[in-house]
């Protein structure tokens, strides 16, 4: 195959057109994502509102000291009027949506403070926990994947078994076992939240292990495919070292499905945080959410669900962007 001058021009033209196409594509891609985001937030707010109002329980009691309060008629009437609970449900719902549009997330019934303030105090703890867990899960998954791919058939079986078992382990069980082992028996690590990173170890391991199981499964599969693909063969033929092949070529491919999964993973981490924060007595929105649901604290539950939905969407979009960086072919293909 020879390259004539004509083909070079054609190639340049083709390239310019593709840049324009991808520029337009990016705008369209972004606006689709934004519309999706708004839809998700609306749906989350709506489902939460009706779900928590349809299960038994009276939010007015949350305002007056929790379920089972023996509040007087006057106190109840006052609380219902103050929080608009005496209006028809649909009006309460529309009112809440309207306030959301203006950025007013209301006041928590049970905490006696604004929802923004309540979430603001608790969000940091959960974010640290989730991000650290995601990072540790990635490292664990990668380590097992590389080990099991490189070290033969037995290692493959071991890696596979490890991943399946850890993916199936429930958080509450793992947390209890870790506390019994590392706090009660060995006394190495604190069972409760203490200042500094040492208090983070057991909660992070609890969240990271099951997640690493899931991530490891997809990573190992695609790592294996990558190692058997022609571009790895040609890299080896060029004299690239085994480490070089792994780091520069194969891992990038292995990472792709795991990056896509990270959006989902973040969501699962937040739900895991409900359990982990409760067991390890850590402040965070997971623990706040559990309590808010039990007390039928509608504004607080809605606020937390919105924050989680937003975070989930943002992480998903971010992982799609990362996908595109790791695999430029995606930017070309219509989405």
């Amino acid at each position: 195959m020879t390259l004539g001058p004509g083909t070079e021009v054609e190639a340049a033209l083709e390239s310019a057109a593709s840049t324009r196409r991808s520029g337009r594509g990016a705008v369209r891609w972004l606006s689709t994502r934004l519309a999706g985001l708004l839809f998700v937030l609306w749906a989350a707010a709506t489902l939460t509102f009706f779900a928590i109002r349809l299960i038994p329980g009276d939010p007015a009691q949350a305002i007056l000291g929790g379920p089972g309060s023996q509040a007087s008629a006057a106190a109840l009437a006052q609380a219902r009027a103050e929080y608009g609970l005496d209006q028809p449900l649909i009006l309460q719902y529309l009112g809440q949506l309207g306030r959301y549009v203006t950025g007013d997330f209301g006041t928590s019934y049970s905490l006696h403070e604004s929802v923004v303030q309540a979430i603001g105090q608790q969000l940091g703890g959960t974010l640290v926990l989730a991000v650290a867990s995601l990072a540790v899960a990635w490292v664990l998954a990668l380590a097992v994947a590389v080990f099991s791919v490189r070290a033969g058939r037995a290692a493959w079986a071991v890696g596979n078994g490890l991943e399946i078992v850890s993916a199936a382990v429930p958080h509450f069980w793992l947390a209890t076992v870790l506390i019994l082992l590392f706090s009660s028996t060995l006394g190495w690590l604190p069972a409760i939240n203490v200042p500094g990173p040492v208090g983070l170890v057991l909660p992070v391991v609890t969240l990271a292990v099951p997640l690493a199981g899931f991530l490891g499964q997809v990573m190992r599969e695609s790592l294996l495919n990558a190692l058997h693909s022609p571009f790895v063969l040609s890299a080896r033929a060029r004299g690239e070292s085994e480490v070089g092949v792994l780091v520069r070529h194969a891992l990038r491919h292995a990472a792709l499905p795991a990056i896509s999964l990270s959006g989902w993973a973040f969501g699962s981490l937040v739900s895991g945080a409900v359990v982990v924060e409760t067991i390890f007595a850590r402040p965070g929105i997971g623990r706040t959410l559990l309590r808010a649901v039990q007390e039928r604290d509608v504004p607080l539950v809605s606020g937390i669900v919105l924050v989680v939905a937003l975070a989930y969407c943002l992480v998903t979009v971010a992982s799609e962007v990362l996908d595109r960086v790791a695999d430029p072919r995606l930017a070309e293909s219509p989405r």
Partner: protein
């Protein structure tokens, strides 16, 4: 050891209440610790307390009024009167009190020279402001509001004397006033907004609320100007501890692991398995302080079928093997109760003979009640209707061991043909189920000082739901003579007459098979051995850290 004996005497006091507590005291390793190495209390130090109760939503126990609030408020708020281990009312913020002949007017003389921690003096005007605060609907008080139900007005007789005028004589008034939900707070502080007062209530107590980090901890610091310990305190002047960190650790295993590792010094809500484990651990001590008021009991809804028939109620009680369940599930940490009242209530009346496990008799009773046929699943039926018992279980209130006990009761009553449907649910759903009368059996704790709790739980007026849907008479006992007895008992001040009336009332409730008593409302604290001088206040059994010091 001037302070150490306080713990022991508390434990011994409870031991007299039951052989079980005696056995606990026997295995409690406290006497073998080096706690007495220094004879005089050590000043200073930080104690970390871990509560398994829910974090309060408001630190002012006037608002709402539940046990988690009482636990922490005991450290920074004080009441007009208290109760000693013999059940007698003793002075606290009030030094003396007099009741008028007709029982409609009470004068309380306040302690001199007491100041709230914001500098406001404790005087009659302050007490008046507190009563007004509790009775104001905007406060949203429920426990305190009920307790002051008969208080029609208050009057400042002199700066140090406050008069309560009642609508009816109230023999329970003093007992009610010992409760933390009726604590006296700074009137200046009560004038602030509800949110501010919820976060930083101001009292006269030995500690001051310094900081509340939600979902994490409340920091309490010593009140250096403290002058008002209750009459049964072990010392005078400020508390020994300089700081208390009050943490919330909902998971029982975590709480115990943290105690064992020394990350916390005291835990509450110790579960049977951890109590047994603690008895085997040299560094830990148990403090068993059952809550006052009602015992933990299963209420049988006599307001509708099948339990509107006394024979069916008795059959259920005879068919339930409670003792074996308690033995295997609570490992000897809970003693069977045969009373409607807690064992710490001096007027509690027990009738063990009514509650024996007699499945044969249960079968006869059910035959007599008309449940003569059995369906394909082996459950009894009458006119084609299965003998079903809907039993909503609050997973917030019933500990795992208690939920398992209910399962055992389900299994043993099944043998005679009861179909018990246990329905675990969260607290809000549980209250909603009760409000809709969707239950045949239920277990609901009720903490209150004194036998007047019987009037709340078994007066027919308590069948009518409050505006919130709440009602206390879950057995739906509706007996005019019982109402009259309880009403009278709540008014007479003669000790012997009052005692006789409450015995009559309890006999009616027990012998009518309205309730199946299980055990006292469990309230076990575990502490490290170097925590010296901790006692539970005999009022509602909350721990008081005023006399406590750290021997380290």
């Amino acid at each position: 050891m001037p302070v150490r004996p306080v713990i022991r005497s508390t434990i011994i006091a409870f031991a007299t209440a039951g052989a079980l507590a005696l056995s606990l005291a026997a295995c409690t390793p406290q006497s073998s610790t080096g706690a007495g190495s220094s004879d005089s209390p050590v000043r200073g130090g930080t104690l970390t307390y871990a509560s398994g109760d829910a974090e309060p939503t408001c630190l002012d126990p006037h608002v709402g009024g539940n046990y988690p609030q009482a636990l922490v408020a005991t450290q920074y708020l004080e009441e007009l009167v208290s109760k000693n281990t013999k059940g007698q009312i003793i002075p606290w913020l009030a030094t003396k009190w007099t009741e008028s002949k007709d029982g409609l007017s009470w004068d309380f003389t306040l302690r001199d020279g007491v100041k709230f921690t914001d500098g406001t003096p404790l005087d009659a005007a302050a007490v008046k402001a507190n009563v007004a605060h509790i009775q104001d609907p905007a406060t949203g008080s429920s426990t305190g509001y009920l307790a002051l139900g008969k208080v029609a007005s208050t009057e400042i007789v002199s700066p140090r004397v406050i008069r309560f005028t009642l609508s009816q004589p109230d023999s329970a008034l003093l007992e009610s006033l010992t409760q933390p939900w009726l604590a006296i707070e700074s009137p200046a502080a009560l004038k602030r907004s509800k949110d501010v007062n919820c976060a930083h209530p101001v009292g006269t107590g030995p500690f001051i609320v310094k900081q509340w980090k939600k979902q994490d901890s409340i920091t309490l610091v010593r009140n250096a100007g403290y002058t008002s310990p209750p009459a049964d305190a072990a010392h005078h002047g400020p508390a020994y501890l300089s700081k208390i960190v009050w943490r919330f650790i909902p998971d029982s295993a975590t709480r115990y692991a943290a105690l064992k590792a020394g990350e916390v010094d005291v835990i509450d809500n110790a579960q049977p398995d951890t109590i047994v484990a603690a008895h085997k651990t040299k560094s830990l001590t148990e403090l068993n302080a059952p809550r006052p008021g009602a015992s933990n009991r299963i209420e049988l809804n006599s307001g509708k079928a099948p339990f509107n028939d006394e024979k069916v109620r008795e059959a259920f009680i005879r068919a339930a093997d409670v003792n074996d369940g308690i033995k295997t599930l609570f490992f000897g940490t809970a003693k069977r109760s045969y009373s409607a009242l807690s064992s710490v209530e001096p007027l509690g009346y027990s009738e063990p003979g009514l509650f024996g496990y007699e499945p044969k008799k249960a079968n006869e009773l059910l035959d007599a009640a008309g449940y003569t046929t059995r369906d394909a699943d082996g459950y009894r039926t009458k006119d084609g209707t299965r003998l079903t018992v809907v039993f909503p279980v609050s997973t917030n209130q019933s500990i795992p061991a208690e939920q398992s006990l209910f399962e055992q009761i389900q299994a043993t009553t099944k043998k005679v043909g009861f179909d018990v449907k246990l329905e675990p649910m969260d607290l809000s759903s549980w209250y909603a189920a009760l409000a809709k009368n969707d239950y045949d059996a239920v277990s609901a704790p009720y903490t209150k000082v004194g036998p007047d709790v019987l009037r709340i739980l078994y007066d027919s007026a308590s069948i009518t739901p409050a505006p919130s849907g709440y009602f206390a008479n879950l057995a739906q006992v509706d007996i005019p003579s019982l109402d009259a007895t309880l009403e009278k008992a709540a008014q007479v001040s003669d000790v012997a007459e009052r005692s006789a009336l409450y015995e009559t009332a309890q006999k009616t409730i027990l012998e009518g098979y309205y309730i199946l008593p299980l055990y006292d409302q469990q309230n076990h604290y575990l502490l490290r051995n170097d925590v010296v001088g901790l006692r539970a206040l005999p009022s509602v059994s909350t721990p008081l850290f005023y006399d406590t010091w750290l021997d380290r």
